[in-house]
Symmetry: C2
């Protein structure tokens, strides 16, 4: 009786973007844990127990998964997108590290299509040159650090992908981020808002930084800011491979 | 007779990481174009013409795909990993933009598991906090710009993923990159070399920057440098979600 934990990425929403590797893990699992809307994407079946939990209990969820695996259960922790990008993989290792007697049960991380890749694909190729990826939520880091990173990323000439750009509990911060970007990158720089990509609620919008407003983003939106060379071709936005 | 082009990511190598969306496009295609080793991953069948081409002819390949689609062919341009990350998607839009009469045939970009996500998953979760992604090849940008980006990325506290870290034509440059990283991040910072992930040739190695040597990377290696908080837990490497 040998338990395991797989932390699996379900991709951005479209079921055709779930990998076979993840499907196989779900087919072998006895238990699935995760945030309510992600667990809801798993088809129930005999012998599979679903354990949906609320947001912001990542460490509890990770410990629950590790406890069950210690008892011989086969546990899939589901994330949307990729589990290694602002999702459950780091939380699992944090929980494992904090345990008095860390049992290195069989742990696997199963990659998925993270939101920025799906968003970039729907938009064209805005991440076709060097880029950076920033979680704009200040739940787990000081806001000042986010501002510092925005400035340096602009000065480095990176395109940028932002996760969790805006929530109702901190509506002013994304407005502040846009102000910093306008100062550093100028009003003409392109910014794309990709909401709920690959789902029926998908909405894509590309404007200049001068035209951008905070209301264009919500927590289901990935925001992509181009570099100085990013431009439109037809309905697409792309960043050339070369830079001067 | 309506042609189309799909630029598709085949993922890092393991066939279980190819999405159903990409499989469906390949099943409908009349033609597949791409770099020789990527086209070799497509199963031949009646009615499908394979057009393998050499490296560094990306724009020719993109024009070939667009020409065939204009004539009503259904063309898949294959990339490894994700087509939008240092791969064929940007080249396609560059070719489209340069055409005298750009015909916006039906163009779709189909995302895939890019190498850094697969590498991060195999290593643990080294990209669990803000990070940047840099192509270390100076084929399409000046080396000085790469050095500038390395310094600012370190000063921003980003974890870093490097594509194309080293080639035989420029062996000294990756040594120079390691020197810059040691200066900016210190000798204790963790660096991981993930070669040919998810293939039979996979090789994973994590050392400190002080221990790192240029020979640890080749062109099939993705290199991931942690941030100041990146650490080991058991055989894994992970970056905590929080920062001070």
């Amino acid at each position: 009786m040998s338990g395991w934990v797989a932390v699996a990425g379900l991709g951005p929403g479209d079921e055709r973007l779930v990998t076979e590797e993840v499907r196989a893990a779900l087919a072998e699992a006895t238990d699935v844990v995760g945030y309510i809307p992600y667990v809801a994407r798993v088809t129930p079946r005999e012998g599979l127990t679903l354990h949906p939990s609320d947001n912001r209990v990542e460490i509890d969820r990770a410990n629950h998964a590790l406890d069950m695996a210690d008892k011989g259960r086969r546990v899939v922790v589901v994330s949307s997108g990729d589990p290694g990008v602002f999702a459950m993989a780091s939380a699992l290792f944090e929980a494992l590290e904090a345990r008095a007697a860390p049992n290195l049960v069989d742990i696997r991380i199963l990659p998925g299509i993270t939101a920025m890749l799906a968003a970039a694909a729907r938009l064209g190729a805005p991440l076709g040159h060097d880029f950076c990826v920033i979680n704009l939520s200040d739940n787990l880091k000081p806001w000042e650090l986010i501002e510092h990173r925005l400035r340096l990323a602009a000065q480095a000439g990176f395109a940028m992908a932002f996760y969790n750009p805006r929530s109702s509990s901190r509506p002013h911060q994304f407005a502040r981020a846009l102000d910093i970007l306008r100062l550093e990158c100028g009003n003409e720089r392109l910014i794309s808002f990709a909401r709920a990509v690959t789902t029926p609620e998908e909405r894509l919008l590309t404007v200049s930084l001068g035209e951008a407003t905070p209301e264009m983003a919500d927590m289901r939106t990935v925001v992509i800011v181009g570099n100085a060379d990013t431009r439109r071709v037809g309905r697409f936005v792309y960043t050339p491979r070369s830079a001067r």
